[in-house]
Symmetry: C2
Subunit: 227 residues, 2 copies
């Protein structure tokens, strides 16, 4: 394993793996920044290696302290292959397209976080259920207790993986194109923002009468974002 | 390399790597579906393996036939490490949260594509410039010719990687939760859609007067989506 160095408990350690050679101004190893970005982006992409071939799988992640969790079918080859192996989990939010006067200075505004560690599978049924409870209520506050309870078969059919964050990097770009020295070149330059928002909830066709989307889920949806 | 089998030129071959064991109804190897999803999602996540550790990097991809391209700084460790090695490139569009009566049946509506191949770096300057031209105009029609031309230094500072799609899989989930047998359980169920749209363009502060965002870029932006 690469040697880790960290200057402070507020900063994730840095190794050859996460040392940033370029664009330092966009990057950070700060624990608070890493946590905030993970929390802001439930969708992530997890990288596994199976027989030397990388696999990048989209999934939902959630966090508890320095642990990141994800889940899936117990039959999933990815999840079975990941247990005990190195993983990289990356979450990215695209905030806009950056149009400059030159092709070279075109860019994107984005926030991304990349975390490294070793995947572990939760074996204890109680711990699994507690993790899924935290996942559900983390997205939809209070929902777990309102649901038809999980059956032993469903719990058995679900794998929960987690990793301790060993190293992590955030990268953020914001603002206009960085080509102010070319400000007189006669072409439009600026940012086209990208917005991701929640839409109006669509109830199932056969909903029994009188059942509404409960507060505070409805309030989150109305705000346009769950997190 | 895994043995490939394909029944038709319209379908990417399938190996152990891409054989779908579960949820067949959501998956496809159809060439047209793979291409449509790549074209719909410029943002992707590329998985590399460096010294046995997976790295998952967000970047923008573009396509020409059965080739997928991405780019970055010539100084990028990822891009240098990828050349000649196996990669997995995944693009995912989140369309909504699926709320069921049980935690187990909660899901997400999404469209994702995963492509496998071997990364290659474009070495020829003309080919590199042509690829970057296609990338720029693919997002912003006609923009390349309006820009301050690329300098030899900028071209030298940019790496363009590509892969021939050897295998590919799409996965799509749409519609309401699949738990109609529990329709009488007294909890709200349905879909909370997620929309990603372009916002109002923000010009740079010092834009010379009289310069507008050109058609047809303005028309695409007004439509809410570039692709």
């Amino acid at each position: 394993m690469a040697e880790l160095t960290s200057s402070s408990p507020d900063v994730y350690p840095e190794s050859e793996r996460t040392h940033m050679r370029r664009l330092h101004e966009r990057g950070s190893h700060e624990r608070a920044a890493v946590h905030a970005l993970l929390d802001a982006s439930p969708l992530c992409h997890v990288g596994y290696v199976i027989d030397g071939q990388p696999f990048v799988t989209p999934t939902m992640q959630w966090r508890d302290g320095d642990r990141v969790y994800w889940h899936g079918s117990a039959a999933s080859r990815m999840l079975r292959s990941a247990d005990g192996h190195r993983v990289c989990l990356t979450a990215t939010l695209m905030d806009g397209y950056v149009l400059a006067r030159s092709a070279f200075n075109h860019s994107a505004n984005y926030r991304s976080v990349m975390v490294f560690g070793e995947a572990r599978r939760l074996e204890d049924d109680g711990a699994k259920q507690a993790a899924l409870h935290a996942f559900t209520d983390g997205l939809f506050p209070g929902r777990w207790e309102t649901l038809r309870p999980m059956t032993p078969q469903e719990l058995k059919g679900t794998s929960v993986l987690w990793m301790e964050i060993e190293e992590a990097t955030t990268k953020v770009r914001t603002g206009p194109p960085g080509d102010t020295e070319e400000a007189t070149y006669p072409v439009w330059a600026g940012v086209v923002p990208l917005h991701t928002t929640l839409g109006r909830p669509v109830p199932v066709p056969m909903m029994p009468p009188g059942i509404e989307l409960p507060e505070p889920i409805a309030a989150l949806v109305a705000s346009g974002r769950l997190r």
